[in-house]
Amino acid sequence: MLYLLALFAGALGIGFVSAIAGIGGGSLMVPFMVLALGFDVKVAVATSLLCIVVTSCSAASVYLRRGLIDVKSALLLEPATALGAIAGAFITLTLPAEAVKCALGFILLYVSGMMLKKALARARSQESAPKLLPARKLLSVAASFLAGLISGMFGVGGGVIKVPVLTMILGLPIKVAVATSSFMVGLTAASGGVVYLAKGFTDPVAVLALAAGIMPGATLGAKYMRKLNPRVVRLVFSLILLYAAARLLYSALT
């Protein structure tokens, strides 16, 4: 019972922080489950992927209704992303838990660095949309495969790669890119999640507790977004990720 409350409270906090920082909760969910609650890393990844499906579907349904999703770009990238997620899930299932922890530590270091850069950077004017050449399409498909691979391996949404791909390579406006990424994240997480589900790694009780916490947390975060400085939140978020990465690397290497 206590661990259910801890899961719910943690998910509430993760939903709140991630809504303000503008990033999916997956990068915090897996370290929270592994480091704070002692979950097996593969069970945490599997459970996180299903929670990502829940949260992403809730957001994507709103974006679809508002017509913010660029379905053509999503369809161009999704086959490669889904393939990457499935491959990533199979890779994680074959690797020893310590290797997964170590690799996750490095991924969190990267995400933390990206968040820190974003928090410290000055606002820049939006670049004009680049011309969509076949080489750019190919590059975006390759990057999407990588995003899927990371998502399937580590139980994260992969939005940290997808949004830059959609804005910088395919030239979508940031709002459309975030909406499109949110739609794609659900499909990607479902592709990876189904592999873990079939192998019996998903914890249904944890899925319920996390989903029950993360949705109101994200709603609260969206509500308080204007009152809090997003740069400060990003800074705090990146420091939390840095701490989680250090703990994961330490526990994997010792």
């Binding site: 499906v53 579907c57 994507a60 709103v62 199979f90 479902a190 249904p204 899925v207």
Partner: protein, 79 residues
């Protein structure tokens, strides 16, 4: 999409209760599968839209994505 995942969560919750009382976990699996299948079902709905608007390129890509995800289900169940 939202109703699909909410239905999945409710079925999973009911399944957990049934598993606790009767020891049968079938409904839990059904609930979790419903969550996973929801985005795929929305992709199928988009494919139907694309088919009706005769967008062959978009339809081919959406069918490819569905085929990859379905193949992963078959692969993970068979291995």
């Amino acid at each position: 999409m939202r109703y699909g995942v909410i239905a999945g969560l409710i079925i999973t919750l009911a399944g957990i209760v049934i598993k606790y009382v009767l020891g049968d976990s079938t409904l839990v699996t059904v609930g979790l599968l419903a969550i996973v299948v929801t985005p795929i079902a929305s992709l199928a709905a988009i494919s139907a839209d694309l088919a009706s608007s005769r967008d062959k390129h978009g339809l081919a890509l959406s069918l490819l994505a569905i085929a990859i995800i379905l193949a992963s289900i078959v692969l993970s169940l068979s291995r």
